[in-house]
């Protein structure tokens, strides 16, 4: 039989209350019921509520419902020190927490991790038996066995964090867990979004929203026709279920309802509140019916007969009642500020979102005006979503899929046979952080995975990159070998290239028109011109070619290449699965607006226009800052010109030249930016535009060269830089207009996936076969 799956959790048992404990029980027993070998590694401590240094249960193995439970004794711990550290953390207001900045001192962090509930025997077991298990699921994120256990088996570990926006989530160790785990299982799309807000998009490729099953009472409640003063079948009412509490926004909703009634005195709509809580809301308005705590049957009857469920709470990590309403095909309204519920409603399309009181008032009117059919349509959409994410069978299917427990996954993967032929790449230059170099590395890794021998050769190399590429000399490569040549500038390779006889392909990365740099850098202009001049000649030697965008493929065609392909540059956010520098994250999240542009300081990127536009932008947003990230030479006349412009506007403290930065710092700049703003007049592709999309930064760009193609439906373009004031106003809208921002980011989220390796590499396969055929 296959190796077992282990769930690692601090407390385990059928009777345990608490979301994560319940979830663990359900997942373990349900997976076991499908015939999988499931083990639970837990402690001898009985529950969260008991003393964490006491062993209430005997150590050893027991089997419950086909699940093998291994209990390990807990360690002694400094409970008081832990309580002090914990109280300190709990005292931090959530709104002051900053992503990427630890609110803990090292001491408190260590106390929290090591004086938590812990079992060194469990950790030793993990270390010793890691090979005996197929995979480990760790949940939830904030206890000792997880904080200390996951790093021991990271490559087989799936973290199911049950994440909330709370101070613990900002502990550096927690971020490490997210970064090192093999996979992350979320209960809701909102939870995944929160994790991306906290740790960046680097973790997105290993995230899976598995959902949580909701046990439904089904059609029960059909016999109930009256709940308190409500005739469930007769009255037209909006339902609000859950704790009736100021923190759940119940009063807020009641006030919105009163306003709605004032505006629409003719409406027969009522508002029914049901759930536990001490405060009564009945006396606010005659049409508000406060039912208090209701029975399960009554709840079902209310859900089955309401017009819609309104769920105004802003503080939810997962909401059962929303799923329950959808099972009854009722639409749901959720609060815009609550990630978990808002994401569910948005993704499902099963209702509405509202934020301030006015919006809720309108929503009452809207729901009142909807016909039965319209409400039903929304409810149906919700039901199909709930059917996917809140039905245990579907949820367990997803666990099986992620953990590789399906039959298909059992079959061994076809190992690529080593091929005789090598496919090598040739570049004019190879440097750290350079888009072309990164693409070459990706292609090399893919070719090697396919069984090809593959080496990157280059004319010039950055000393820090010698482990990735070799300096080119003609004797290292035979003319018969398969070569992929990346063309982006003039080089001395023409002679060698013209001698090639084997399969070959040219990838064109675009050449900046020399006129842009002629004034500042005649040397560079010459190299660019040479690169352009080489193109017609190269067209003769390369029967197979590709541009990184249709814009570039068009240029190739103009220079005589036949039917060039389009192979975009790959932008994989997994690159960002690295921590950000704490100081930078701390400094840049000080409440001021951060505007970002990434690209070398060079005239075709028009940083001068950006600074001019930014000076106008500051009229709308006086605290804003502009970061220009990208290499520059302080003797460069263009750089000096920029400094003059900055000084003339008195912006020297507000425009920053970050220079060429490492990935960690670039990561930080993307994390803290509110707007990506480009005035560039020439971009052959625009990798940073796609990176900005991954960080959910709205993009505002001047429409030129390949930019419209790269952005597609993402971002907002303008085709004239005049009047500059309007563009500044547009930028201000993109930063502050919530709804516009949301629309732009949603479109960008769709576009960015087109540049993932799984989208780009099939083009490479096609090019390889074309190369073979042409040779």
């Amino acid at each position: 039989m296959n190796k077992p799956i282990a769930l690692v959790i601090s407390w385990f048992g059928r009777e345990l209350k608490g979301g994560a404990e319940q979830l663990a029980w359900q997942v373990a027993t349900r997976l076991a019921a499908r015939g999988h070998r499931i083990e639970v590694l837990t402690t001898c401590c009985r529950s969260f509520l008991e003393d964490w240094s006491q062993n209430h249960l005997p150590p050893g193995e027991v089997v419950e419902e086909d699940v093998l439970i291994r209990r390990f004794p807990v360690d002694r711990r400094a409970g008081e020190e832990f309580a002090a550290a914990n109280n300190f953390v709990l005292s931090l207001p959530v709104e002051n927490l900053l992503p990427g900045v630890s609110p803990f001192t090292c001491g408190t962090a260590d106390t929290f991790i090591y004086e938590n509930i812990n079992s060194s025997k469990l950790l030793r077991f993990l270390k010793k038996h890691r090979e005996d298990y197929h995979a480990f699921i760790f949940l939830p994120y904030l206890y000792g066995p997880i904080l200390n256990g996951l790093p021991l088996v990271a490559d087989k570990a799936y973290l199911q964090p049950c994440l909330h926006n709370e101070a613990y989530a900002y502990l550096p160790r927690v971020e490490e867990l997210f970064r090192m785990a093999r996979g992350i299982l979320y209960n809701s799309a909102g939870e995944a979004r929160l994790a991306r807000t906290l740790y960046g998009p680097g973790i997105q490729d290993k995230e899976v929203v598995v959902g949580v099953g909701v046990e439904t009472a089904g059609t029960a409640g059909n016999d109930v026709h009256r709940v308190g003063p409500m005739e469930t079948g007769e009255d037209r009412f909006i339902l609000c279920l859950g704790r009736r509490d100021v923190h759940k926004n119940t009063l807020f909703l009641a006030e919105a309802f009163v306003r709605f009634k004032k505006d629409h005195p003719e409406s027969l709509l009522k508002l029914a509140l049901a759930g536990p809580g001490d405060t009564s809301f009945s006396n606010i308005h005659p049409d508000i019916v406060d039912l208090g705590l209701v029975s399960e049957e009554e709840k079902e009857a209310l859900l089955a007969n309401c017009v819609a469920l309104f769920h105004p709470s802003e503080n939810e990590s997962y909401s059962r009642v929303i799923m329950e309403a959808w099972f009854h095909e009722r639409p749901v309204a959720a609060h815009r500020n609550c990630l978990a519920t808002a994401m569910a409603v948005q993704t499902a399309g099963g209702g509405w979102l509202a934020g301030d009181e006015g919006e809720w008032v309108e929503l009452f009117a809207e729901a009142d005006a909807f016909t039965k059919d319209e409400l039903h349509t929304l409810g149906k959409r919700g039901k199909s979503y709930a059917g996917q994410y809140a039905v245990w069978d579907r949820v367990i299917d997803r666990y099986e899929q992620v953990l590789g427990l399906t039959k298909k996954a059992d079959e061994p993967r076809a190992v690529q046979k080593e091929k005789d032929r090598g496919v090598h790449q040739l570049l004019p230059g190879f440097a750290f952080g350079d888009a072309i170099s990164n693409q070459a590395i990706l292609i090399r890794d893919y070719l090697r995975a396919q069984g090809y021998k593959s080496v990157i050769y280059t004319e010039a190399i950055d000393p820090s990159m010698t482990h990735e590429a070799e300096l080119f000399s003609p004797d290292k490569l035979s003319a018969d070998e398969a070569i992929i040549y990346h063309h982006s500038i003039g080089s001395g390779l023409m002679g060698f290239l013209s001698s090639l006889r084997g399969p070959r392909c040219l990838i064109y990365h675009n050449i900046t028109p020399p006129s842009f740099v002629a004034d500042h850098d005649s040397g560079l202009a010459g190299q660019l011109q040479q690169g352009l001049d080489m193109l017609p000649g190269l067209a003769e030697f390369f029967p197979v070619s590709a541009g990184v965008s249709a814009f570039n493929a068009g240029e190739l065609q103009q220079h005589g290449f036949t039917s060039p392909d389009v192979m975009p540059i790959c932008v994989d956010p997994a690159k960002w699965n690295i921590p950000t520098p704490v100081n930078r994250m701390f400094e840049l999240q000080d409440g001021r607006t951060n505007i970002l542009f990434v690209g070398r300081i060079v005239s075709n990127k028009c940083q001068h226009d950006l600074i001019e536009a930014f000076s106008l932008y500051r009229r709308f947003d006086p605290g804003a800052r502009l970061f220009l990230v990208g290499g520059y030479d302080d003797k460069d006349p263009y750089y000096k010109k920029l400094i003059k412009i900055i000084d003339s506007h008195g912006l020297s403290g507000d425009v920053f030249f970050a220079g060429k930065v490492d990935d960690a710092h670039l990561h930080a700049y993307f994390r803290i930016a509110h707007l990506y703003w480009s005035m560039s007049e020439h971009e052959g592709f625009g990798v940073p535009f796609i990176e900005a999309m991954w960080f959910d930064i709205p993009v505002l760009a001047y429409k030129s060269s390949a930019i419209p193609e790269t952005l597609a439906q993402g971002g907002i373009l303008f085709d004239s830089k005049e009047p500059l004031e309007e563009i500044a106003a547009l930028a201000h809208l993109l930063v502050y207009n919530h709804s516009l921002r949301e629309k732009v980011c949603a479109a960008q989220a769709g576009r960015r996936s087109d540049f993932l390796p799984n989208q780009v590499l099939p083009v490479l396969d096609r090019l390889l076969s074309r190369m073979e055929a042409a040779a």
Binding site: T105, D590, F620, G623, Q713, A729, A746
Partner: protein
């Protein structure tokens, strides 16, 4: 100009929003604020150089905060002895941990504290900028308010002029009408009939109504003050179960209606009677029930035992003695058994009131001695008649004791004792 392939964005609408932004900015700047370049940057930009230095120092500190946890890279000796040196280094570190662990904690704690402090300072900078802005705004507002006050004062003066003019024209009109009436009477072939004459007489009686209203407004005090003072009588009504439909309250000389309003506020049934048309009109506007009649005539029209309470505040000092005695008799007659009569009047025992303040109202007849009124009520059939002294002068009006404390004390008794009293009697 704007382009997007995003189907959810309406470009036309977006352009309108952009224009709104610009208009909004322009309207914000339409005042004294300079357009462009005049904005003080918020927050830390006051000294960017210092901040970047601070940031660089923190970076260095952070890099070295964990000193003592790793073998230094300086120990990269030749390969042959590298392992040995690193081994020794590790051994030293192992033993040194006793000292270095707390040091590292200290380093990191200090760095953490520094970051929090810096955050605090930045926050304060931002707030101070915000306060500056608010302060400027407040100064602007104050200037605007001052301007408005000046405007209002000027308008007030204009109104005073107008009122003066209207008063004098009104007086002239009154004189003209009087002259005209006199002339008309003289020129008429027949003298006025008895009825017409009575009409004139009656009207003549009301000629001073509005004057008296203005007088009351000026001298009596605000409605709220009066209502507060009169609230002391509510327990008497409660005690005698007055103010119901069967036992209503009648207020003689109800005036501006404060008492009636107070009674209504307390859910009591009451009616007023007043001879002043203007005052009665005002009361009716407030929804109070007031008859415009002579109190005496009205009382005579009521059946025996039909009221729970009869009240009169500052009216008995306006009546001649015979009428007063008649009033007491009538009040006793119309009260039901157990009903109460309350009459309040200035207290002449107070030296200031008796000698001076009483005469502030030119329609007052003469001060009424408390025990006399008590006697009158008893004489007219009331029982358990009591005197209730009210409204002493506040302590500030008292004379200092000085060199003759006894004299001062006696004078103080006379000057600051109750300014008013009420005589209260019950129908047996």
């Amino acid at each position: 100009m704007i382009e997007t392939k995003n189907p959810r964005i309406d470009v036309e609408q977006l352009l309108t929003l952009v224009q709104d932004e610009i208009d909004h900015l322009k309207s914000d700047n339409s005042g004294d604020a300079p357009v462009g370049g005049g904005f003080e940057p918020a927050g830390e930009t006051n000294n960017p150089y210092a901040w970047s230095q601070l940031s660089a120092s923190l970076d260095i500190a952070q890099q070295n905060a964990d000193a003592g946890s790793r073998v230094s890279t300086y120990l990269n000796y030749r390969k042959s002895i590298r392992w040995f040196v690193r081994g020794v280094g590790k051994l030293v570190l192992y033993f040194g941990r006793v000292i270095t662990v707390p040091q590292r904690d200290f380093n990191n704690a200090i760095l953490h504290a520094l970051r929090i402090t810096i955050n605090g300072i930045r926050d304060m900078n931002r707030r101070s900028d915000e306060f500056d802005r608010r302060f400027e705004h407040a100064a602007d507002e104050r200037q605007k308010l001052n301007q408005r006050i000046d405007d209002l004062q000027q308008r007030d003066q204009e109104k005073d002029h107008l009122i003066g003019y209207l008063k004098s024209t009104l007086m002239m009109q009154e004189r003209r009408v009087a002259l005209f009436l006199e002339e008309a009477r003289r020129c008429l072939p027949e003298t006025f009939s008895q009825e017409q004459l009575q009409g004139f007489v009656a009207e003549k009686g009301h000629l001073l109504d509005s004057l008296y209203v203005t007088f009351e407004d000026k001298f009596r005090g605000t409605r709220e003050e009066i209502k507060e003072r009169l609230a002391v009588y509510l327990p008497y009504l409660e005690k005698t179960k007055s103010g119901t439909d069967q036992r209503p309250v009648l207020d003689i000389g109800s005036g501006r209606g404060e008492w009636l309003e107070l009674l209504r506020d307390n859910g009591l049934v009451a009616k007023g009677v007043d001879i002043n048309e203007t005052l009665a009109g005002q009361c009716r506007e407030r929804g109070l029930t007031v008859e415009i009649k002579d109190a005496f005539t009205y009382l005579q029209s009521l059946p025996d035992g039909s009221l729970g309470a009869v009240t009169g505040f500052h009216i008995i000092e306006h009546l001649p003695m015979e009428t007063l005695l008649e009033l007491y008799a009538e009040a006793c007659r119309v009260l039901a058994s157990g009903g109460v009569a309350i009459f309040e009047t200035p207290n002449p025992q107070n030296l200031l009131v008796g000698a001076c303040n009483f005469y502030a109202d030119p329609t007052h007849k003469r001060p009424l001695y408390p025990e006399t009124q008590q006697f009158f009520l008893e004489y007219r059939g009331f029982s358990k008649v009591e005197l209730k002294y009210l409204h002493p002068h506040d302590a500030g009006a008292r004379l200092p004791e000085g060199e003759a404390p006894e004299l001062a004390a006696r004078l103080n008794d006379l000057l600051s004792c109750a300014r008013d009293y009420a005589v209260i009697g019950y129908k047996p």
